[in-house]
């Protein structure tokens, strides 16, 4: 087992693969990169996302998850970048905090059946562990705790990888994309999906999925509804759903019993940051992902983050793009090629009203490319609104948006030359505002 690498990438899903390929293209020798993947193959969760709709932005064609994953896996194999499969990273540390090399050397401890427990020394680490699904416990749904309650992703694995069906009749709680996709998938495989209940007054999924996964099959979507009871001691026998009020509390008298043997939960995704937290990476409480600067670098020098471990994306194309940036930045870091201009103070990027968070949340002019993409999600459904950008308190940009929804990621682009016009700038703020009236 090789004990040293320039860049260790934790996670061999879409983010890790794109980061690895980009780092190699940026000049890091392939053998100096190491991908650590816990599954038995590269590609991560894409391997079970067998539906189409991936890659429209990147490849201008509509691929399935495994096909999209294979394009990047093939890149990595072609480049000869080493990777370890069925290997779990269990700890990351940054050492030498007090000396000249303060925090510069990272130690990634991992284990697998072939190599046992081992530690790899690295200059840079790219966090690409992805995200996990919010479990039932976090929702605290009352009732029994029988078999037949699955997160949508777990059910997806059973159906698409094992060829097994979790149940015959299902109710789905949460209209996240995986839930919508699984509604169609279960139906096509012969199950009856009785309904999808969504706590919020709007769906968290893509419009296209609501139409093609629910409407096509006549599956009702009940907005502002939730599951308030699970019945069946051994196996799910039914659920009680109820309408919720504006505070998302169930309204008495609206309860309805739905018989089913399966409850799928698609109630959101959470970046998987146990390793990051152990390393001392500062996390954003809104995204549960690391706080990063324009280089996608965390507060721990030489530790970068990309993909769903950073913030949950709606499209994998954006994951690949972001991960490519992380890979290039990590390459610059280890090769010392980055234009590390005289230390420039970091400008904070803050979410204003209607914006939940931004990635990145710090911007150093000296490290900035000509253009910087800021990605974020809005906190509600907005029609005919605008995105406004403030440099400190000066309004500098306003873009009208016909519709914005929390389920779809938004972005704005900042130009370096524009920023350079404000040398005293301390904070950039992005907010949802009323649309600019059309010019007469």
């Amino acid at each position: 087992m090789k004990k040293k690498a320039e860049i260790v990438i934790v996670g061999g899903g879409p983010a890790g693969l794109a980061a690895a390929a980009a780092a190699e293209e940026a000049g890091v020798k392939s053998e100096d990169i190491l991908i650590i993947e816990r599954d038995g193959e590269l590609g991560g969760i894409l391997n079970q996302c067998i539906h189409n709709g991936f890659g429209l932005h990147t490849f201008k064609e509509e691929l399935t998850g495994p096909e999209y994953a294979e394009r990047y896996a093939e890149k990595v194999r072609q480049a000869g970048i080493p990777y370890l499969l069925q290997t779990m990273a269990v700890d990351i540390r940054a050492e030498g905090r007090d000396g000249n090399d303060a925090g510069k050397i990272k130690y990634v401890t991992a284990m697998n059946k072939n190599d046992g427990l081992f530690t790899v020394e690295a200059q840079a680490v790219i966090l690409a562990m992805g995200c996990r699904e919010r479990p039932r416990g976090a929702l605290n749904i009352p009732g029994y705790r029988p078999a037949g309650i699955y997160s949508a992703g777990t059910a997806q694995r059973y159906v698409n990888i094992e060829g097994r069906m979790p149940g015959k009749e299902a109710v789905i709680l949460g209209s996240g994309d995986i839930g919508l996709i699984m509604a169609r998938r279960m139906t096509l495989e012969g199950a009856k999906v009785k309904l999808v209940a969504e706590l919020m007054p709007y769906s968290g999924g893509l419009k296209r999925n609501i139409v093609q996964c629910l409407d096509d099959y006549g599956i009702p979507l009940k907005l502002s509804h939730t599951v308030v009871g699970i019945h069946g001691k051994e196996r799910v026998e039914g659920v009680t759903i109820a309408e919720v009020d504006g505070n998302r509390k169930p309204i008495a008298g609206t309860e309805e019993y739905i018989s089913c043997d399966t409850l799928l939960l698609s109630c959101g995704l959470l970046p998987e940051n146990e390793l990051s937290a152990g390393l001392g990476v500062a996390l954003n409480p809104v995204t549960s992902g690391p706080v990063v600067n324009e280089s996608l670098e965390t507060n721990v020098e030489g530790v970068f983050a990309c993909g769903n471990v950073l913030h949950v994306h709606d499209l994998v194309d954006y994951v690949s793009e972001e991960a490519g940036n992380a890979g290039r930045n990590a390459a610059e870091y280890v090769l010392g090629t980055g234009k590390r201009e005289a230390a420039s103070a970091a400008i904070g990027i803050r979410p204003g009203p209607g914006v939940r968070y931004t990635v990145p949340s710090l911007l150093r002019l000296g490290h900035m490319q000509e253009e910087q993409v800021i990605r974020f999600r809005v906190s509600d459904v907005y029609r005919d609104a605008a995105l406004a950008v403030y440099f400190d308190d000066i309004p500098v940009m306003k873009v009208n948006k016909k519709v914005m929804a929390p389920g779809e990621m938004e972005q704005i682009k900042l130009k370096k030359r524009k920023l350079e016009e404000y040398p005293e700038l301390e904070q950039i703020r992005i907010a949802v505002e009323r649309a600019v009236p059309p010019k007469a």
Binding site: T64, P66, L188, D216, V403
Partner: protein, 138 residues
Amino acid sequence: MGGMETENRNEVNESRKRELVCIRCPIGCMITVTQQGDGTLGITGNSCGRGAEYAEKELTNPTRIVTSTIRLRNGKQAVVPVKTAADIPKGKIAECMDAIRDAELEAPVRIGDVALADVAGTGVDIVVTKNVEADMGA
């Protein structure tokens, strides 16, 4: 299968009215399509040409890509994912799934391998979407 559909008959002419959500972009226009007795379509609610195109296609010839899995013998996975190589008529989805359910492949398989030719008489092939090696231990 289909979105909200209402039959709307009047004495002079028969017309069908249907409402659909456009999925061509995130805006999600609510489009109303009225089909006159003579077959012509009246499309309202769309904010661009792509919406009209979508609505017309959905009413006259709705098609979908179908993705599923097929049993795989001696593979590292029990099933392999597949898709229709092109979109097929919505009305053929059930028949297509029946054919997929009966099919079986032998590992190894590569992306693009034809699993079923001309599925359900659509002229479209079912193709493999994942490379799966044979399981030497099997």
